[in-house]
């Protein structure tokens, strides 16, 4: 695929961190299956969109990124809190 432009990459990194912090997303660092990681992240994006009542697309659209950038509490939104 064409290399994603920086801005998108930046959003992708921000979103990854957000989903790790609040939606128990774990990127499998040495996963051989890149696509598996992406599906897993898409599922987590859907979970976050559903929690906030956004349109559940699985994509990092503008509204989803805006919501991720809102000031918030540091406690996860899903149950995996340890």
């Amino acid at each position: 695929f064409p290399e994603v432009p920086d801005k998108e990459n930046e959003d992708m990194q921000f979103a990854k961190k957000y989903l790790e912090n609040f939606y128990d997303f774990k990127e499998e660092k040495n996963s051989l299956f890149k696509s598996k990681n992406l599906n897993h992240m898409t599922d987590k994006i859907r979970e976050m969109q559903s929690f906030f009542g956004l349109e559940v697309t699985g994509n990092l659209d503008r509204k989803t990124m805006d919501m991720m950038k809102q000031p918030r509490c540091g406690i996860p939104d899903v149950r995996s809190y340890s």
């Binding site: 912090n21 906030f52 406690i75």
Partner: protein, 402 residues
Amino acid sequence: TFPQSPRWRREDVTYRILNYTPDMLQADVEEAIAKAFQLWSSVTPLRFTRLYSGQADIMISFANGFHGDFYSFDGPGGTLAHAYPPGNGIGGDAHFDEDENWTKFATSSGYNLFLVAAHELGHSLGLGHSNVLGALMYPIYMPQDIRSYRLPQDDIDGIQALYGPPRETPALPTEAYPPQETTEMTSAETPTEMSPREEPTEITPSKTPTRPKDCDPHLTFDAITTLRGETLFFKGSYVWRKSPYFSDIEHDTISSFWPSLADGFDAAYEVDKRDRVLFFKDNKYWAVSGYSIESGFPKPIQNLGFPTSVRKIDAAVYDQNTKKTYFFVGSIYWSFNENTQSMERGYPRKIAADFQGIGHKVDAALQKNGLFYFFHGSNQYEVDIKSKKLIRVLKSNSWFNC
């Protein structure tokens, strides 16, 4: 709640303020935290006692970046604070990010410590996050008027599921006064002066009569409107919220969305293309977009073209096809052109003359899926917008999956 629903096993819970933010007076920090505790003690049997030394159940501190737990803070913005569910050691503790600007005001230039502390103490007592927009336990910070802040119903339901309702007289936070132990206080803790014990201003839960049951066959409404794809039903200070995203009906109070409009409405309607909802009460109206009330409101309804003899309206509904809004007052109605922002000529007209089968006052009106719904008492009349013919009569609460 958190997994396994951890909660404090006794009603007396202690807290201690370990240090202060330089952004606020110490007395203001203490007051914000005391009021945050009051929110929770006013709806549960819990009593909160402040300690000045030793180990308390809930240790409150300000810190930035890495601060000794696995959840480092992230500088200004982003994460504002976090707190741990009830338990030993770090359990119950609440940490506030010192890199934020903390304030006792509800302004856009900083984060209101009372609001954030009330949220974090919800975690300290065992509550997780809520996805109910406007709930205190919603994860996103929502600046709002805190002067008459009342705990939203969703949070009351959550905390009472853990601890039950208050005893007869809601417990006020007490202080171990003078401090119970004489061990050395750290400098950060020694208050500049032992502030005289402030009588906390009681934050009482809403006194309005209890919310009617969703499926009460006699349920009636004051006003109904769509809002960004959802439908809001108003009665007194209560809101029933029906969303296409969630199957169940959400129960809120008006004050959790628009604190300054808490007393309820006579009528409401949405002009969806402008993302604008208008609320009417007596001879005034407000325009809101989401949470925010447009500046310059309220305005007198005469601005819309009503004669001074009209002191209030009963119902209003916007017709997306014709871009007209119908206002109902007693047995007559007006048509308002949203494009020209003026009343149409030839009005008012008799409701019964134009809307078949609607021969009486209209309490509320709704436009959904190309049909009009006129509410009168515990019935609603479904009308085809174009032909204005009556299709069927339903119970007013048929939208609540009864």
